[in-house]
Amino acid sequence: MGMKEYKTINKVAGPLIFVEKTEPVGFGELVTVSLPDGSTKRGQVLDTSKDVVVVQVFEGTRGIDTSSTVRFTGDIVRLPCSKDMLGRVLSGSGNPIDGGPKIVPEERREIIGAAINPYARQYPREFIQTGISAIDGMNTLVRGQKLPIFSGSGLPHNDIALQIARQAKVRGEGEEFAVIFAAMGITNEEAYHFMKDFERTGALERAVVFLNLADDPAIERILTPRMALTAAEFLAYEYDLHVLVILTDMTNYCEALREMSAAREEVPGRRGYPGYMYTDLSTIYERAGRIRGRKGTITQFPILTMPGDDITHPIPDLSGYITEGQIVLSRELHAKGIYPPIDVLPSLSRLMKEGIGEGMTRDDHVQWNDQMYAAYAEGVDLRGLVAIVGEEALSDRDRKFLRFADEFERRFVQQGKYEDRDIEYTLDLGWELLSMLPEAELMKIERKFIEKYHPAYRKKTAAGEEAAEAAA
């Protein structure tokens, strides 16, 4: 029952096959297709009716002919899960490709995760220190957040992702963490770069890698992030691990989705992407989070390259509406030789307000952040004016803001790929820059913080202490 085989393929279109005269087949069922050459491919039912069943084939339809055999398994797509997945490299559809043994599953989980009941969620508020000033200081990440990197072709998003994977920690805790790395349609070279770094730093032991490379079937990419998140949920909720999930590159995922949609002859939405892309992406991104009463958490770092650096393109646009902020990379900063080229102005972390301040980062962080933003935005604005009237026409005050913006980029944003700055260093560095401005301009910071952290006062107290010590 349910295991009957059919040789009734009557149409193949792109990644889809159409099978006729079947027994009732369930929506979403897993399908295996046996080709005349003896190989098999897997697929999933996209549309089922009494007349015809539409199957999307993950590995592509190359080689399939009308004499191929289709078998409906009566089950849906699952990932064999085990703690032994840690340290392993799997294909985009979950099979080991590192030459190691098969994974003996403790559990076979559906890869379509059920939605977390919003009532069961716990609001994320634990500060994760990434060691990158532009993130920790300006757009702080918290545990359970989904914070994508909006990048462009040729920008060093992979290096930033790696740096975060290496350095991310919740301070004062030795809790167990794991990294899930899901590659979708990236090149062999990029994958090699990631793997090399994982091996070198020993991170691989704590990682599960899913690889769907550029020359792997595009349709498989629709499974890859779901496989990765299923593994993440298993490790987070069964083994209480704090899981950091890196998904790269979501743009390739969306292209695969569009390809599927076109093959199904669906009514296209914007720029040919399917109208349900928002919903589809949300079933990936919303799997990040924390659940009340459970120890493990899932933090997501999706990476996407904005086609034509256009942030209004449907892929970054729909992502931005779902994720809890975004880290935006700038080609201009990159061209200036600044790493990481994070443009803080369009960047945002929606959850930072609960994760910073006294007891979490430092008491001055909230107002410090407001002031840094306002000052940098003003400086950047003034650059526009300088281009027209020249720097000489600026007032003394304006020139200070202009210099602040330059220093902000050169000293605060810029740091080494292996430089791991703690939050105090980041905040103090910010204060050093703020001290370039007239004190009266620091309108967003309360007096007490200025007196506590402003270098002008700190020197005084330090000098005072020294004097006191000397006197003693």
């Binding site: 929506f27 995760g113 109208g275 349900y276 929606r350 933003y373 306002a374 009237v389």
Partner: protein
């Protein structure tokens, strides 16, 4: 039980995502059906020949042709009665805490939990007695639902005029009969109402009273009336959700219905954690005591998302019918429109603009038309104010959902990514936004806040407009090239922007600003303006005026509990410095 009608049970013919095609049933449009062994809930959205198109509110994986379909013969309805307040529902009024109880942290399928608690006892106080005549919409008694909400028990609107033959006070569950009419109709504490049908009222009344939101830019510059409609479109990260949360927190409605429609799970969690802690400035009780929450997050089934806005507005109308002022926040109506598009696409309907169905405009109009200040069937006055967030792709306001919304709503709060990037919040653009209620509400403000309110408002708008004009020149030649009076005007405009318009949602004092405080602050800025120009006339140097001591304190006064003293002190400091008085 009714006799089993022909065509009540049929079977599945086809499944395509949330769309199931059935045969063998003969339903009416919008009847609710149960599909498959698990009884997945769905709604009839089309009839084609012998076939029925059903949008299913849950994931359809595993459903196959031949599976059973049962037609309930009833349209999608909500349960209206005590127990709504403080509830946290999904898009089809299933309580999320109840779902957690039966299925754990993740929402599984085929769960049936009634919208109102069946076991809870409510103390019912009759307001009418045996022999009294009642009709649909009349109040037969009350239940103290929460500390601040007195729930009025209504005769269902569809009941004609009849006489009460029996009515009892005391403790009842929602399903107990509390009154009997002469035609034998038994009245309970709750009744059901189909969500897609607006609840009836006698007549609409003009909107003459503002919905006070405690947000300076909204109340002072772009007010919305009780019973009015407003839209907040903006790109992501511009603060739609924070603004909606602020409105849900501080708007002076009796009841607030908040719909998280296709948005983030964590945002609803935030509301859930925060609202029981926050105190309503009007009642001094937690805000949750007057709030109904509906959450159909983006990853929950898309058909239920489509239904969620109707569920929300029906609940709002029900409280309106008790004579309450209700405000409803829908975040985001774009996700609702997208749900329509998604289902329309599955139905293979001819698409209109950008793939949206051709009926998008009429659906949006129908929804907003359910707002209004009305004379209820029971003879009292109640209102529903609707505030919809819109999420235009790429922040482009010319897209169909924004455009169709703007054609119908009366207030437009335009969020601006540029303001958000420089952390000017609320990031509402004062030049682009508008309110068509300013004239009708003028009288209320002048009477209830201050006689020169509208004059002051006009002055502030003029300064901001003038600033925009001058900024164009500054962009070309720099501010030093402007005459001194204009440089001073820029400084005053800066005060309006930074002191008055910027408001900190997360600051305990600044989060809510009463109309009186709004007036005092703006009046204070006007006073500073007059001082500045007087000083200039007397020959003071512009830099001396702009950098006058006291300005910083003036800017901070809004954060003080006793803002009045702080404002006055700051103004005095400035006066002394400028005129040495």
């Amino acid at each position: 039980m009714e006799v089993k009608a022909v065509g009540k049970v049929g079977e599945v013919y086809r499944v395509s995502g949330p769309l199931v095609v059935g045969e063998g049933i003969r339903p009416r449009m919008y009847d609710v059906c149960f599909v498959g062994e698990e009884g997945l809930m769905g709604e009839v959205v089309g009839l084609v020949g012998e076939k029925t198109l059903i949008q299913v509110y849950e994931d359809t994986s595993g459903i196959k042709p031949g599976d059973r379909i049962e037609n309930t013969g009833m349209p999608l309805s909500v349960e209206l009665g005590p127990g709504l307040i403080k509830s946290f529902y999904d898009g089809i009024q299933r309580p999320l805490p109840g779902l957690k109880e039966v299925s754990g942290d993740f929402i599984s399928r085929g769960l049936h939990v009634p919208g109102l608690d069946r076991k809870k006892n409510w103390e019912f106080n009759p307001a009418v007695k045996k022999g009294d005549k009642v009709k649909g919409g009349d109040i037969i008694g009350t239940v103290q639902e929460t500390e601040v909400v007195e729930h009025k028990i209504l005769v269902p609107p569809y009941v004609g005029e009849s006489t009460i033959t029996e009515i009892n006070g005391g403790k009842f569950t929602v399903e107990d009969t509390v009154a009997v009419l002469d035609d034998g109709t038994e009245l309970k504490l709750y009744h059901k109402w189909p969500v897609r049908q607006a609840r009836p009222y006698i007549e609409k009344l003009p909107p003459l009273i503002p919905l006070i939101t405690g947000q300076r830019i909204l109340d002072t510059l772009f007010p919305v009336a009780k019973g009015g409609t407003a839209a907040i479109p903006g790109p992501f990260g511009s603060g739609k959700t924070v603004t909606q949360h602020q409105l849900a927190k501080w708007s002076d409605a009796h009841i607030v219905v908040y719909i998280g429609c296709g948005e983030r799970g964590n945002e609803m969690t935030e509301v859930l954690e925060e609202f029981p802690e926050l105190i309503d400035p009007r009642t001094n009780k937690p805000l949750m005591e007057r709030t109904v929450l509906i959450a159909n997050t983006s990853n929950m089934p898309v058909a239920a998302r489509e239904a969620s806005v109707y569920t929300g507005i029906t609940i709002a109308e029900y409280f309106r019918d008790m004579g309450y002022d209700v405000s409803i926040m829908a975040d985001s109506t774009s996700r609702w429109a997208e749900a329509m598009r998604e289902i329309s696409g599955r139905l293979e309907e001819m698409p209109g603009e950008e793939g949206y169905p051709a009926y998008l405009a009429s659906r949006i109009a129908e929804f907003y038309e359910r707002a209004g200040r009305v004379k209820t069937l029971g003879g009292s006055v109640g209102s529903v104010s609707v505030i919809g967030a819109v999420s235009p792709p790429g922040g482009d306001f010319s897209e169909p959902v924004t455009q169709n919304t703007l054609r119908i709503v009366k207030v437009f709060w335009a969020l601006d990514a540029k303001l958000a990037a420089r952390r000017h919040f609320p990031a509402i653009n004062w030049l682009q936004s508008y309110s068509l209620y300013t004239d009708t509400l003028k009288e209320w403000y002048d009477e209830n806040v201050a006689a020169d309110w509208s004059e002051l408002r006009k002055w502030a708008m003029e300064v901001l407009q003038e600033e925009a004009n001058l900024q164009e020149i500054v962009q070309l030649v720099g501010s030093d090239a402007l005459p001194e009076s204009q440089r001073l005007l820029l400084e005053v405009a800066r005060l309006i922007r930074e002191v008055f318009l910027q408001q900190y949602a997360y600051h305990p004092v600044d989060s809510y600003c009463s109309p009186q405080k709004q007036y005092d602050m703006l009046k204070g800025i006007k006073e500073v303006n007059d001082m500045f120009f007087k000083a200039l006339e007397q020959g003071k140097l512009i830099d001396e005026i702009i950098n006058v001591p006291g300005k910083e304190e003036f800017a901070r006064a809004k954060f003080e509990e006793d803002y009045k003293t702080a404002l006055q002190n700051a103004i005095e400091t400035m006066r002394k410095a400028l005129f040495g008085e």
